[in-house]
Symmetry: C2
Subunit: 232 residues, 2 copies
DNA sequence: GTGTGCCATCTTCCATGCAAGATGGCATTT
DNA sequence: AAATGCCATCTTGCATGGAAGATGGCACAC
């Protein structure tokens, strides 16, 4: 069957459901599906060149991920993020990343050093991007740091939670990247986390990771509310 | 349409997908679907008196919950829990419940008192059940305590994570209830959490909740491995 | 002008058919 | 007897049709 529609042609791997999931997810993350938009499964299916069934099943998965709500007989609603949601999300991140840092600091030396090296590389990229005034690169390196932190804790459930949560924050991150002040502070706080890991000090690592995210939250939330962003 | 099969007849509310999800979930939790069992969607659909579609969609949701794995063209595999999984799960619980306790301790006084009262009621039920030697009642009250702790933190994402994680632990809890030693300690640790909340001391609450779950984990994991339970 | 109720339309929910992939047993070969 | 390859069978992936629920606009009554 030839894909008659332009849009998506990279279905090299996996099932149609996976394709639909990936396509819809990235459409939501890069905001080509705006929050509040109500899409019909039929329409999406048409655009993706498949039938309604895989779209429907992908929608169920996206709903579990908290990106959309499937409204019975109404359609698929792209969810917006209220400041209250951002607060919720940060509380989860504070909990999870704190524990991840603690776990890494408790590991045997070789694993600790390896993790610290990876984290350090990401942090130095941030410092360089900051020096160059390259904001997108800074954002990417920052994302990489937090992703590495979770990864090295070697806990699939934590990874999954972090992934979901990070998806939900994605739009907020993109939007506020230009407004953020604490770039310098972030780099220094990342270094504090790395130092605690190198020292094998779990308590210090836990607190450093928590402090970092708590500060970021306290910086981001006022921004959102002061700009009157009821949802994004 | 008359349900020809005996099994499930409570489909009062919601969609067939919801019914299938609820039926399969409880079948897994109470172990009438044993781990390792490979069910075909057709067979389940027949038993539930519906077609394959809603069963298939429910299976997707259960897979997101980590209870089954849908194997392409093979069937639905009921997942077992290895000690490694239990360790992973506890790390998530330690992170989430610690943060929940901290959040509650940071609330204004009325909310704190209300939460503490609810938690205290559950804890006293545990103490009474312990005195009566009523193990199932103890387990139920213990479950209620932890469920209340999350609930009062008022964070839907945390609640969802806690629910998922607690489902996964359900079988392990049932299995080890008879083996557990630290009933007394649990009650005392719960009281420590409640005291910290009453005092409005977030740091103490965080640490008390963490210590409680860390001890429980350190007590449970050796039990599992020493009994040679490779999976459950 | 305002409020009420009906109905055309849109949308998902679920059943079912077809096709393709995976498996396990059986026959055949060595 | 052991190994190999084939095929019948079982299973899901996906498409599609029928049915029922939800909505919003329009006509009608007041």
């Amino acid at each position: 069957m030839a894909r008659s529609t332009a849009r998506v042609d990279e279905e090299r791997k996996g099932s149609l459901v996976d394709d639909a999931y990936a396509a819809m997810r990235s459409a939501i993350l890069d905001a080509s599906f705006a929050p509040g938009y109500q899409a019909s499964e039929q329409e999406i299916a048409l655009r993706l060149g498949m039938s309604r069934t895989p779209v429907h099943e992908a929608a169920i998965r996206l709903q579990e991920d908290g990106l959309v709500r499937v409204q019975p007989r109404r359609g698929i609603l792209i969810l917006a993020l209220a400041p209250e949601d951002v607060r919720e999300i940060y509380d989860v991140v504070i909990a999870i990343e704190g524990r991840a840092a603690e776990i890494i600091a408790e590991m045997a030396e070789p694993a600790r050093l390896k993790a610290a090296a990876a984290l350090d590389a990401a942090t130095e990229k941030m410092a360089k991007a900051h020096a160059d005034g390259d904001l997108p690169a800074w954002g990417q390196a920052d994302g990489a740091f937090h992703s590495l932190l979770i990864e090295h804790a070697r806990n699939r459930r934590m990874s999954r939670i972090a992934q979901t949560i990070s998806d939900q924050l994605h739009r907020a991150r993109m939007l506020t990247l230009n407004l953020r002040k604490g770039l310098e502070a972030s780099v220094e706080e990342h270094r504090a986390i790395i130092r605690s890991i190198l020292a094998g000090d779990p308590v210090a690592a836990l607190n450093a990771a928590r402090r970092h995210r708590i500060r970021a939250r306290d910086e981001l939330l006022p921004l959102l509310t002061s700009y009157g962003l009821k949802h994004l």
